[in-house]
């Protein structure tokens, strides 16, 4: 069972990507895919949206899985392993989660379940790079998310011009020169197959 997280700041398109990527990853029933979505609040919106996908879904509320409810996350992953035995678990943490902490929490479930870690895919919203990176507290958070990424998916590329996109890519590349950079549009589907290939071939 491979655990892959789709992280990134609030509003960068995580839920939309997860819904589409889960279908691409599942193929025609080749793989069993389960989703775990985490929202800080107790009134879920993303979970309700994902319920409509028909995928096996676990919704964790009441805190952030990278810290406050990390053990709940580990137990949830184990429960999925025990009851559903998916090939892939796609995890959507909150928009303020730190990817390496989500990985560490997921690894705790490896005490009881046979798991492997997929990549930390971090989305970066191409429509508002300055807003995300140039502010003090927010900038630190988003920078931490980007530097933690195994794959940086620059999202919403259909909504920006090519020169703006190149500037954005240069900025995130500077923060994390090691991660693979993927241009992503959940609207047109660009980048989706590449993310699928990366997940399937990832070994850690």
């Amino acid at each position: 069972m491979k655990i892959t997280q789709v992280a990134g700041f609030l509003g960068c398109g995580k839920t939309t990507l997860l819904l589409k990527l889960s279908k691409v990853l599942a193929g025609d029933g080749v793989y069993k895919v389960a989703l775990v979505v985490n929202e800080i609040g107790e009134i879920p919106v993303d979970g309700k949206v994902m319920e409509e996908s028909g995928m096996r879904l676990k919704d964790i509320g009441g805190g952030c899985i990278c810290c406050e409810v990390a053990t709940t996350f580990a137990k949830t992953v184990y429960a999925l392993y025990k009851d559903f035995k998916p090939d892939h678990v796609l995890v959507e943490p909150t928009g303020v989660a730190i990817p390496h902490q989500v990985k560490a929490a997921a690894r705790m479930s490896g005490r009881d379940a046979r798991i492997s870690m997929g990549p930390a895919i971090v989305l970066f919203d191409a429509t508002r790079p300055a807003e995300l990176l140039d502010m003090d507290m927010l900038g630190r958070l988003v920078t931490n998310q980007v530097t933690d990424a195994d794959v940086i998916a620059v999202s919403k590329i259909d909504a920006v011009a090519e020169d703006g996109l190149e500037d954005t890519e240069a900025r995130v590349r500077e923060l994390n020169p090691h991660a693979e950079l993927v241009r992503l549009s959940s609207f047109t589907g660009e980048g989706m197959d590449r993310l699928k290939d990366v997940i399937l071939s990832w070994e850690e």
Partner: protein, 175 residues
């Protein structure tokens, strides 16, 4: 004006992100179709974002909603006033009752302010369209975890938390 030195719970925490979630039932005297409902939900998202910015927010993280009806569901959201609001989903036929979950996550204002802006936006827009609003459940929250902790320290805390939940607090030994 918001005091930048104010470290009261809910604002200017580690990332200064505050949130408010509310579940409401909206009832209209006459059944309304998908176009009407989508337009209202988008207008509501935009209105909440605008009210948060007017009250000193520095960034709209995500203002999102899910509208469930007997004839289908839609979602609507915005990441900022300038970016606009969008919706998707479908509602097969006109309906009177909507069950709506709204979640506002904003940076730079306290949770009470997010709550006020959200409720004002919900009421103004819905009531302006002829809906009666009944609040069912609400929740304010804030984010204050220390994301600057070292990886080693984080793992230590995680191990401790795991042992406590597995064995009970009395049996936890923090080695």
């Amino acid at each position: 004006m918001t005091d930048p030195m104010n470290t009261e719970k809910g604002c200017y925490t580690e990332h200064g992100v505050s949130g408010y979630g509310v579940a409401v039932k909206l009832t209209h005297e006459h059944p309304k179709d998908e176009g009407f409902i989508r337009s209202m939900a988008e207008e509501m998202m935009h209105s909440i974002a605008e009210k948060c910015m007017e009250r000193g927010a520095r960034c709209i993280g995500h203002i999102k909603s899910h509208v469930m009806t007997e004839a289908g569901a839609i979602k609507a959201d915005t990441i900022g006033v300038e970016q606009g609001a969008y919706s998707s989903g479908s509602i097969r036929h006109p309906v009177k009752d909507l069950y709506m979950a709204v979640n506002s996550i904003v940076q730079g204002i306290r949770e009470e302010v997010v709550k006020t802006a959200t409720l004002e936006g919900v009421h103004e827009v819905a009531e302006g369209k002829g809906y009666v609003v009944a609040k069912e459940k609400e929740h304010t929250y804030f984010d204050e975890f220390d994301f600057t902790v070292s990886k080693q320290e984080y793992l230590r805390q995680l191990e401790k938390q795991f042992r406590e939940e597995t064995n009970g607090p009395g049996e936890s030994k923090d080695s």
